[in-house]
Amino acid sequence: MGVFSGIEVLFFFLGVITTCGIGGIVYLKKQYNADHKSLLLSGSGLFFFVFFVAWSCSSVLENEHQAANMGFVFFGLPAILLFGIAWKQLRKVSIAVKQ
């Protein structure tokens, strides 16, 4: 990556992911009238996802691949779970609004 170290590139992309994630949550709020519960779940999912990316990429950079995989188990899976629950909650709210 030329003049930038791996960790610098990682933190740049973490910034990009966080910005896009927050943008997505704001979009959900405005477009789908998301309630507090689904916003909270999405926000928590985003936090876990960013943490998973940060942890696992850092572990790969330090050549500890098992730590990277465990990062997915401990932080990546909870992120997926939280996004799933948030999506379900959002569907419930949007169906209720339509009715």
Binding site: S58, E62, N63, A67, L81, I85, R91
Partner: protein, 467 residues
Amino acid sequence: MPCAIYLSQNLSTPLKSNDTWVVNTLGGVMGIEKKTDHSNGLSRRNFVKLGAASALVGTAAVAALPEQVAAETTKAASGPKIVPALPIKVSSDFKRFNQEKTAFVQAIRGEFPSGMDALIKVDGPMHTEPGKAPVVGHQEVDKALVMAGWAIHKQICELSEISGPQDSMAYSLENEVKNAPVKFASKTEATEHVKKAATFLGASLVGIAPYDERWTYATQYDPFKDVIYDVKLPFTPKSVIVMAFEMDYAAMSTAPLYVSGATAAMEYSQMAITGASLRTFFNELGYKAFATGNDIALSIPYAISAGLGEAARNGILVTSQFGPRVRLAKVFTEMDLNYDKPISFGVRHFCQDCKLCADACPAKAISQERLPSFKVENECNNPGVEKWAIDAKKCLEGWGKVGSDCSTCIASCPYNKPDFWHHRMVDKVNKFMPESVHSVMREMDKLFGYGNLSDPVAAKDFWKNES
């Protein structure tokens, strides 16, 4: 219900009579949802009430923790802090150590034959069992790297690592001072210049401690003259500049294979180069100074006093930046400087329950006792200091078993991590954890794959050229 939740269900649990399963499609993701009829069981409202009651009981239980446990937790939670005095108990009858009592000197003097056998096995020509190919990390190329690491050390301060030659190019006590002493505007300015010079000349960490005669050896063994002599310093130093040299993480990850010995050897050479260079810096400024590696005085008490780290179960210094993965050197000078204060960041507290190093040690030379004490293992330990005493003789015999200078206690330590943000974060979180969680964190460290020993993959990774 999304697939992830579906997957997390324990499918081996038999369905209850009041459970029904329905297929549910959401956003293109198909899953199976379990619907439970709670008419005869716990309703959602009651479940919430039960949860609230449990939280209250839990809070009350934490509040009612014994005062001592709470105090210990607070002590650990207080974070990296400066402590006013040496955070180790030293008894009033403490006596200066006779360096010839170390396992190394006993081995080379013929008083500890199995120790000498171990040293021959480690330092001698490579030995491979007949019919067996040497494992990755324990081959000719690895041994060559070890010898390359020692090259400069052998040229300028041979044998100072295990004994105390009276004169060597790097660690000579008598040094010529030609100029009149340079005056600095303040002690702070002088201290800043000295610290900058030390890091510029190759030290990874630097701290300054006041001279303390207790840590100077009473006697020392000269292997070239085969004599034991009283240690007499050429002047009474005012300040001791303590320098830590980081050993390479990738190389240390291969311990106890040869490659880990190469990084230790490399830093021994660096200690001599930087020590001798910093001594010259003082001499050029018009101040008397001399450099030492393992000789003349104990390094760890000075390093603790200079705020570089804490003493751990494995008998070595643990720094907050590099954990135990450092080597130490000292420069004594008559220059008056500002002293650093000892620090505490929860190492001794964590060591009480961790014991990863003690379990990993191939010679079982590290104490399994929970708390440090004044107990000693043999004459290799200097009595009068509260610590986890290691059995240095068993340790050296362990070198013979593994065929290298081991380092498993360094590689297995949970504080041995590269300087990455997530490890610093875990260190900080760790300080807020009570003792019961330390055992969990120790297991998590293993689960995450840290501290693997004799790892040929680590040795292969080490030799990869990433440039």
